[in-house]
């Protein structure tokens, strides 16, 4: 066969290139660096790649590739630590892992959850590489078949996962997703540059909110605060149950799910412009739909880990296709990777269609299989570490929390290098706390936020291009809009919505929540409705000639206002005991917690306010010391040791990665030496 005749010799050459001690050493180095960086939420591959970029100039091509690929490949593996252990979505690739990974950690099965996740990642990476080896040769026409209508449909398929994650009241889930979508439109519109819910006097808003901050605010802050209030360890039993071997067995039992999700991962990853943001949700949705007993999802169902984790490493492989053969980066780290490739060797390697020519096919295959190899090395390291790192979940959480505040503040600041990042983190933290409290689906909100921009852009662009196609003829326009791929995607979406709505009641992505009085949930509903109404009017003020900038926020706000209206009627007609009045503060863990919500949140607020006054490092020193003494009740000496450790770690990390700390008012007046400046 022709395909095999091209593939085999090139593969052979590729392995000859890879399997050299020097290359493998660089690969291992990259993997270790990638793991160290990936554990940090919000930093990810870009930070790591920027770190090695200066060394790439003139470096031997394959060694340089090994170093970079090693790093990129393991970031979606190692950010699982944060997702599972702390409930912090380390990157957009591991959002769905939080849903079931964190509940498992709370049950004391962190090691099992981690091992299942890593094994799935490894497998996903390998399936991805194998698939790519053949697919990459025929990928070009297939990728070109994905036009704007097809991409819009995939985005909608991603959004349809809201149906599954909506919770017990589908309308609440829909409204939460609507809120995410509308918040995603804040800032300058892509099409005409109109401002939505923003002003040029607040340039921070004009840029829109970054996923890192929204993800950390919506998922991490509420969890950290909730745990901190209870003053216990993450694992309820304070000890570790099932070990890593159980996790590997879990994966083996679900190997076919893993295969399917890996393939989903590669295929969605291949489409440029979508990247990783939808993959894990689609995989999660698929896992739910193919599971008979759905009652455990959101409470620690291992299939909810195997699915997304299989897909997110496979996606990295898929992402190589647009990067390598079209020269269009699928993600930020792929963009840096592309830039760095040009620095390697004699500088004659340029990503683009020539990567598939006979001259470069061996290099292309080297990249694909370095990726697979890096997955193997990374997974083995991670599984080896998981037992030890999982012990974090048995530590008294009060000792852990201030460091988590430190990490998420630092991560949030890296996204925009602006003090407003910290304010935004706090703001989204508050929204997250209330969404969690009243059982409004946080995953639905996040899906809405992530897909807001693609949904709006693809819809506008597809509409405009279709308009021109219809001018050429009705059949041309219809053929453009409803190609075979689009039709298949429409069917899949409809099926997934119908199934999803039927199953949503069973899946409590927020766990079991008791009901309380009517007042608090209703006040929250009013606040949300008010935001939708303001957003609707704000968008309606945009000039009619820039209809592309106003139609999306108006449409979504309008639908959401209707949802809220129906919810309101339903609230008025139902008694207090109805699930619609879910309120965590009425009874259960939160209500019985040792500390109140506001005093606990005030600690975090205290850190941020202090930071805006005296800068990050000084604020952190004061905060850690006082927190450890007053809240954790340690002696001053102990508190000082913890503080010094935290500061030293932070400084080392920032120094190595060449990152800045948030400066405060003090820094704007006095020029202080690093790390205080």
């Amino acid at each position: 066969m022709d395909l095999v005749a091209t593939v085999l010799p090139a593969l052979n050459d590729a392995f000859a290139l890879i399997l050299q001690p020097g290359v493998l050493m660089y690969l291992a180095l990259g993997v270790v660096m990638g793991l160290a960086i990936g554990v940090f939420p919000g930093l990810g591959g870009i930070a790591g790649l920027s770190l090695v970029l200066p060394f790439m100039f003139g470096m031997d091509t394959v060694s340089g590739l090994a170093l970079m690929v090693g790093m990129v490949a393991v970031v979606p593996t190692s950010d699982t630590f944060a997702s599972v252990l702390m409930g912090i979505p380390g990157s957009s690739a591991s959002q769905a892992t939080v849903l079931d990974g964190f509940p498992l950690a709370k049950r004391g099965e962190a090691a099992r959850a981690l091992a299942a996740a890593f094994t799935s990642s490894l497998f996903g990476g390998l399936v991805g590489a194998l698939f790519l080896t053949f697919f990459i040769l025929i990928a070009r026409p297939i990728v070109l078949a994905f036009g704007l209508p097809e991409m819009l449909m995939i985005t909608i398929l991603g959004l349809s996962m809201v149906a599954i994650l909506a919770g017990r009241i589908p309308l609440k889930g829909l409204a939460a997703a609507g809120l995410g979508l509308v918040v995603g439109t804040i800032g300058e519109a892509d099409a005409g540059g109109s401002l939505r819910m923003a002003s040029y006097d607040l340039p921070y808003l004009a840029d829109g909110f970054k996923l890192v901050i929204v993800g950390l605010g919506i998922f991490a802050v509420p969890e950290i605060i909730a745990l901190l209030r209870q003053d216990r360890s993450i694992s309820k039993t304070a000890e570790l149950g099932a070990g890593w071997a159980a996790g590997v067995r879990d994966w083996w039992r679900n190997k076919w799910l893993s295969v399917r999700c890996s393939l989903i991962g590669v295929m969605v990853g291949v489409i440029p412009g979508l990247g990783g943001s939808v993959v894990d949700w689609i995989a999660y949705g698929h896992s739910v739909q193919t599971t008979k007993d759905k009652s455990n999802f959101g409470k620690g169902e291992v299939r909810g880990i195997v699915g997304p984790e299989s897909s997110n490493n496979a996606k990295e492989g898929g992402g190589l296709v647009p990067t390598l053969i079209f020269g269009i980066p699928g993600s930020g780290s792929m963009a840096v990777f592309m830039g760095a490739v040009a620095l390697l060797g004699a500088g004659d390697l340029e990503v683009g269609p020539q990567m598939l020519s006979a001259d470069y096919l061996d290099v292309t295959y080297s990249i694909v299989w370095l990726l697979a190899l890096a997955n193997v090395v990374g997974t083995i390291l991670c599984i080896g570490l998981s037992g030890h790192i999982a012990k974090l979940t048995t530590i008294r959480f009060t000792l852990l929390a201030p460091f988590l505040f430190m990490l998420i503040s630092f991560a949030a600041f890296q996204s925009g290098q602006n003090l407003a990042d910290l304010a935004a983190l706090f703001g989204f933290g508050l929204i997250g706390i209330f969404l969690r409290r009243f059982e409004w689906s946080r995953p639905a909100f996040l899906i809405g936020f992530v897909l807001s921009n693609p949904a709006e852009t693809f819809a506008n662009q597809a509409y405009q291009v279709a308009g021109s196609k219809f001018q050429q003829g009705f059949d041309v326009g219809m053929a453009y809009l409803f190609g075979p791929i689009t039709l298949v995607l429409i069917v899949v979406t409809v099926v997934s919505v119908v199934l999803g709505i039927r199953q949503a009641r069973l899946i409590m992505s927020e766990g079991d929540v008791q009901t309380g009085t009517k007042r608090a949930p209703m006040v929250f509903l009013f606040v949300i409705s008010a935001y939708f109404i303001i957003s609707f009017f704000d968008a309606s003020l945009i000039d009619d000639r820039l209809i592309t900038d106003k139609i999306f926020p108006m449409l979504i706000s309008g639908i959401a206002i209707l949802c809220c209206g129906v919810l309101l009627i339903s609230m008025m007609r139902n008694p207090e005991t109805h699930v619609i009045f879910a309120d965590r503060e009425s009874s259960g863990d939160d209500a019985d917690a040792a500390h109140g919500l506001w005093p606990t949140l005030a600690w975090f607020g205290f850190l941020l306010v202090l930071c805006s006054l005296v800068g990050f490092i000084l604020a952190l020193s004061v905060f850690l010391l006082i927190f450890m003494r007053l809240r954790a009740g340690l002696s001053w000496a102990h508190a000082a040791v913890y503080t010094a450790g935290g500061i030293a770690f932070m400084c080392a990390m920032a120094w190595v990665l060449n990152r800045d700390f948030p400066p405060g008012l003090l820094q704007s007046m006095v020029d202080l030496p690093w790390p205080f400046r």
Binding site: P54, G332, G339, A342, T548
Partner: protein, 365 residues
């Protein structure tokens, strides 16, 4: 003007090299960056052309500066690059550890009076500038109708994937408008690479790329018969538009305009196009030191960039990565900056009006 000076510099390179090493040794005593880190801030994300540009120069600059400091490229994207530029406006650290790189997309909002602009180019100290070119291209079936003039293309409905009318895309959009082409821009794409992909998918049927983008992505399409170059924006020599040295066989927009009915190479529209072309392409990217930088630090960087330029392998390295375009250093960079930022008021007014009429873009609030 500046180009002329460059060639003189080239001719006297042998002589200058000796003088330079001498002068270099002297300043090295005064300004030594050993053990320091030079942070080169780029107001865009890691993805764009500016990132590539800075990453290309950073290691070369590091080698050429006295004391071989580490040169780190830092990214500060936001608000169409005005965020980073506003930040740089506030920098006063003139010890050579702070550098900034601006691009055409930073120049345009400045020229158009964008409300977000709080920076002033005249305050900054340019040390190096480079240019680029741009090539417009068509699908083969439409290229058949193109005979050096755009006369037969006027009844075609063109679709163009655009990043936004106030960006560098202003230059092609205005050019096509002047040719009388009916081009409908689909706004909101994330980079010129995405525009090319739309063209390849047949969703767009006209596109342009900067030189490096064209060499990387379109040249292979042309070879495969899937795209045909239409025109370049040209290259600027002594204020006159001539054929682009990287694409000597492709006519310039000026030539096409002259042959096309109703398109004039004089008057308001032409002056405006030329002014914005000049601001966006021949001097596209500029490296700056902050205001208040002492002259000896500026001289040190100027010499370092001269040294980079004098590398025997520089021409080969840069032609592959940046195209065959001049690199301006020191005084020439200053001249280049003046050229890029001095757009006549009438041209500005014309463009602001046209953006408003055609796309509903309001720049002044």
């Amino acid at each position: 003007m500046s180009l002329f000076k460059v060639s003189i510099r080239r001719m006297t390179l042998g002589l200058a090299a000796a003088a330079m090493t001498l002068a270099h040794a002297q300043t090295a005593a005064a300004v030594n960056l050993e053990g320091k880190t030079v942070t080169w801030t780029i107001p865009f994300s890691e993805k764009g052309g500016s990132a590539k540009w800075a990453n290309f120069f950073a290691p070369l600059l590091s080698e050429a500066l006295p004391g071989k400091p580490t040169v780190v490229v830092k990214f500060m994207p936001g608000a169409g690059s005005t965020k980073g530029a506003n930040w740089f406006q506030r920098q006063r650290k003139g010890d050579g550890t702070v550098m900034f790189g601006s691009s055409g997309s930073t120049q345009f909002p400045y020229l158009l009076g964008d409300p977000r602009v709080r920076y002033e180019y005249k305050d900054w100290n340019p040390v190096m500038a480079t240019g680029t070119g741009g090539v417009a291209y068509l699908p083969p079936d439409l290229a058949k109708k193109f005979d050096g003039s755009a006369n037969n293309l006027k009844d075609v409905n063109f679709i163009y994937g655009s990043q936004g009318a106030t960006r560098l895309d202003l230059v092609p959009l205005l050019a096509w408008k002047m040719l009388g082409l009916n081009v409908k821009p689909v706004f909101g794409i994330k980079g010129r690479g995405d525009g090319r992909l739309m063209f390849e998918r047949g969703e767009a049927n006209i596109d342009y790329q900067t030189t490096s983008g064209y060499l990387k992505g379109v040249a292979s399409l042309v070879k495969a018969g899937k795209a045909v170059p239409m025109m370049t924006w040209g290259s600027l020599i002594d204020g006159k538009i001539v054929r682009d040295p990287t694409f000597p066989e492709v006519p310039t927009f000026k030539e096409v305009c002259e042959k096309t009915d109703g398109c004039e190479t004089s008057g308001k529209a032409w002056d405006a196009w030329k002014a914005f072309f000049t601001a966006g392409f021949p001097v596209q990217k500029i490296a700056f030191l902050p205001q208040g930088t002492p002259q000896e630090v500026i001289d040190t960087f100027t010499k370092a960039f001269d040294k980079v330029k004098a590398r025997p392998d520089f021409a080969q390295l840069s032609s592959k990565r940046l195209g065959k375009y001049p690199m301006f250093v020191g005084k020439d960079a200053k001249a280049a900056l003046d050229q890029a930022t001095s757009v006549p008021e009438t041209a500005k007014a014309f463009v602001v009006q046209w953006l408003n009429d055609e796309y509903g873009v309001k720049l002044k609030k």
